[in-house]
């Protein structure tokens, strides 16, 4: 993403003229999101698997992306709406025995080796979220703006657990809250005829989803935690 931004900055041309004064407008774009969710239930689940003798590995970062629309209501206020998804995963995998692998390479004269690891148990937590946020612009220069905002988030989440012979899934939805600080590029780069801008956002999300299936008995997927987003936008 960073390389793409640099490339776009290099081949893009700054548009001149109308950046000196504020003019309300909208921008639409894609963001890459990384968050560090609490996921305490999944940590407990991983611990239970470890206690059962599995080397269960749980990720610490949830990755995803979203489509966003960002609009300036006035010089001091800005709104944002987004639709996106994020994925958190973990699992237990097995590889070939190292010694067996070595013998296999020797005896097959290098024709065969152990190969890739086999995912035995796969855990996938996915969230699809709709966010709406209002921001107060703390500082604005012709080239950059800093804004702080907050708003509601509605999330639909699923939990999938696959083992060699079974597949278990559950889902739920819930309302949350997000607060963040944004750094937005205000001067546009012309990429062909497209006015291009970049934005960076960091904040904290409170988003605890309960799995509503009977078996789950309100098992919680807690996507709450700090996050960072990097987005590229086209000015409208």
């Amino acid at each position: 993403m960073t390389l793409l931004m640099l490339l776009l900055c290099m081949i893009g041309q700054p548009s001149g003229g109308d950046n000196d004064s504020f003019s309300p407008g909208f921008r639409i774009g894609f963001t890459f999101n990384a968050s560090f969710p609490s996921m305490q239930s999944e940590k407990d689940f991983a611990d239970m698997n470890t206690a059962a003798g599995l080397d269960f590995e749980l990720g610490s970062t949830a990755l995803g992306g979203s489509v966003e629309v960002l609009g300036d209501v006035s010089e001091k206020f800005r709104i944002r709406g987004s639709f996106g998804g994020t994925n958190f995963s973990g699992g237990y995998s097995e590889g070939y025995n190292a010694m067996q692998n070595l013998f296999m390479i020797i005896f097959t004269l290098g024709l065969f080796s152990g190969g890739a690891e086999d995912d035995v148990i796969e855990l996938n937590d996915q969230a699809i979220s709709i966010e709406a946020q209002a921001y107060y612009v703390l500082s604005r220069t012709p080239g950059m703006s800093i804004s702080a905002g907050a708003g509601p988030i509605y999330t639909f989440a699923t939990r999938k657990l696959d083992s060699p012979n079974t597949a278990t899934s559950g889902s739920g939805s819930g309302l949350g809250f997000v607060a963040s600080l944004r750094l937005d590029q205000e001067s546009t780069f012309k990429l062909g005829c497209l006015p291009l801008m970049f934005g960076l956002e960091g904040g904290y999300r409170m988003n605890n989803i309960k799995i509503s299936d009977e078996e789950a008995d309100d098992y919680e997927l807690d996507f709450s935690g700090p996050f960072v987003k990097l987005g590229s936008y086209i000015g409208i």
Partner: protein
């Protein structure tokens, strides 16, 4: 040719051994089964079955005084409502005097 075959035989054995390298640290069960557990000392034992959401779906034994050593019990794959559990991963917790001393994992399927 004979030397080549000498190489080929262990190679093929290793390939098939590798393909069937099912060393899962859990048991795959389709019907009622018996499991074994060891107690380090005498005390009150609870045997609890949890599903993959860590919910207690069946208590097989409650505060039953047992001596130290090896013991066995069985689970008929039924939950507390006497309904067969759905396919999935299940865990049996062996609790001795309120401390979890062992967790066993089972993949239950039809």
């Amino acid at each position: 040719m004979g030397k080549f075959l000498l190489f080929l035989l262990p190679a093929s054995l290793l390939i098939f051994a590798g393909c069937n390298d099912s060393t899962y640290p859990f048991q795959q069960v389709t019907d009622e089964f018996t499991f074994i557990y060891d107690l380090p000392n005498e005390g009150g034992v609870d045997l609890i079955v949890l599903n993959c959401y860590m919910n207690n779906i069946r208590t097989l034994l409650t505060d039953s005084t047992q001596s130290s050593g090896s013991h066995s019990s069985s689970w008929d794959l039924l939950d507390s409502s006497a309904v067969r559990v759905p396919d999935g991963l299940y865990y049996i917790r062996i609790v001795l005097d309120d401390d979890v001393i062992e967790t066993q994992m089972y993949e239950v399927y039809k």
